[in-house]
């Protein structure tokens, strides 16, 4: 780790770890050159976080669909047991929150969210320098960059607000879709405008309920991002301790890394679970037809 950042200052080391590999459209056309990032507009992709996210999505599908050699009713194999355990857990959660309405999309969506977000979070436990260094070596070897330090590679997708807000956006769209589908456009608008203060205070109601509505996806996405970003940051700071030439600080860093990683396992699972539960709760609220 020290070798990779030997000539970097601490600030540069941290900055390097927090920068994405971006490919986007500049006035001169599409490019993945990091020096052109400032010229890119909205039409740019974080190839690393998006790539890991999609890869882990396929890992999820592979594990849950193709990981089981043969589905068995009587003698489920190890992976099938695990998969059934996950599904039962998700299903129990969905059924305890969705008491009146029925929607068979919610279960699969909650399962996807739980496992996918957990896998993305899990990338946080890969030591912070492994994959960026590997990516740098590959990039340098293939001639994509002159120096491996010019290659940027951010591994944990959920430390990228684009990823977490992207999922929150999908949930938000579903909230609006089901609100309108279940209550009708009129019912949905009534919910937004007619309380808490009655129809003579419509503008005030709209502002209050609008904030309430918008806050759902924003808080959903930013909560996950904030937790994982902070966790990642601490891993980077601990890794920074290993770049000092003092052995005692290095050993302390190893110990701290171990402790933080163990503690972080809890956060990873917990944040994935929270994201799933909130998704279910928001959609359950969208299905509620009773008046407040």
């Amino acid at each position: 780790m020290a070798s990779a950042s030997g000539e970097q200052t601490s600030a540069e080391y941290i900055q390097h770890h927090l920068t994405n590999l971006v490919c986007g459209k500049t006035p001169d056309g599409w490019t993945c050159d990091h020096n052109a990032v400032d010229q890119m507009g909205f039409l740019a992709f974080h190839v690393d976080s998006l790539g890991w996210s999609i890869f882990l999505g396929f890992v999820f599908v592979a594990l849950f669909r193709f990981g089981i050699p043969k589905l068995s009713t009587e003698a489920p194999s190890g992976i099938q047991n695990f998969v059934e355990m996950c599904i039962e857990f998700v299903n129990d959660n969905v059924q305890s929150i969705f008491t009146s309405a029925k929607n068979n999309l919610i279960g699969p969506m909650a399962l996807t969210v739980l496992v996918w977000v957990f896998l993305m979070n899990l990338m946080d436990l890969v030591p912070v320098d492994y994959l960026p260094t590997l990516a740098g070596q590959v990039a340098e070897a293939t001639g994509m960059v002159e120096d491996s330090k010019d290659s940027y590679f951010k591994v944990v997708p959920t430390t990228d607000p684009n990823i977490t807000l992207g999922m929150a956006l999908a949930v938000f769209v579903l909230i609006i879709f089901y609100s309108i589908k279940i209550k009708g456009l009129k019912g949905f608008l009534a919910e937004l405008t007619l309380h808490p203060f009655g129809k003579w205070m419509m503008p005030v109601n709209l502002v209050l309920e609008g904030v309430n509505l918008i806050a759902k996806p924003i808080s959903l996405g930013l909560r996950l991002f904030g937790n994982l970003y902070a966790g990642e940051m601490i891993f980077i700071l601990i890794a920074l301790m290993l770049t000092f030439s003092s052995i005692s600080i290095g050993l302390l860093g190893v110990g701290l890394h171990l402790i933080w990683a163990l503690f972080h396992i809890l956060i990873l699972a917990l944040q994935a679970f929270i994201f799933m539960v909130l998704t279910i709760v928001y959609l359950a609220m969208a299905h509620e037809t009773e008046d407040h």
Binding site: L18, V22, G24, M40, G41, F42, L43, A44, F45, H46, S49, L50, S53, I54, G57, F60, V61, F64, R65, L71, S72, T73, E74, P76, Q80, V83, E84, I87, E88, N91, N104, L105, G107, P108, M109, L111, T112, W116, P157, D160, P161, N162, I163, L165, G166, M167, L169, A170, V173
Partner: protein, 156 residues
């Protein structure tokens, strides 16, 4: 940390993976789990039924058993009375037989005694005649005194 098209890309990926899960991952496993649930419920019901029928069978068994016991007792009683009857019959027969044997034996004895008496009388009369002949000489011949001798023999 700027927001860009990655967000929309992730939204699209989310929709696609949720759809894959909805169509291909969730249904087969849920179906398997429901089938297992059903099987277990069926099994429990069958077990309950079997339990009930076992109870019924136990009841029927008890009834049959009681009946059999009664029958056995009846048969035993009959056999006992029959046995005592046979013994009584046999005893009776034996007594009759014994009486017969006894009476025939006593008849034989009587006959023998009479015979012996008869012989004794004969011998006695002969002895007397012999002796009388010797005493009286030839005066008295058996031919002459046949009648007298017979009388004597009858008196003996």
């Amino acid at each position: 940390m700027n927001i860009n098209a990655t967000l929309l890309g992730q939204t699209l990926a989310f929709v696609i993976f949720v759809a894959i899960c909805w169509k291909y991952v969730w249904p087969p496993i849920i179906a398997i789990m429901e089938e297992r649930e059903k099987r277990i419920a069926d099994g429990l019901e069958a077990a309950k039924k079997a339990d009930d029928s076992l109870e019924e069978a136990q009841l029927a068994f008890d009834q049959e058993m009681n009946k059999a016991k009664e029958q056995a007792a009846e048969i035993l009683e009959k056999a006992n009375s029959r046995a005592s009857q046979i013994v009584n019959d046999a005893t009776e027969k034996a007594e009759v037989e014994a009486g017969k044997i006894l009476s025939s034996a006593s008849k034989t004895i009587e006959n023998d005694v009479n015979k012996a008496k008869e012989e004794l009388r004969q011998k006695m009369s002969e002895l007397i005649i012999d002796t009388s002949e010797k005493i009286l000489g030839n005066e008295i011949s058996p031919e002459k005194h046949q009648e007298l001798l017979k009388k004597a023999a009858a008196e003996l």
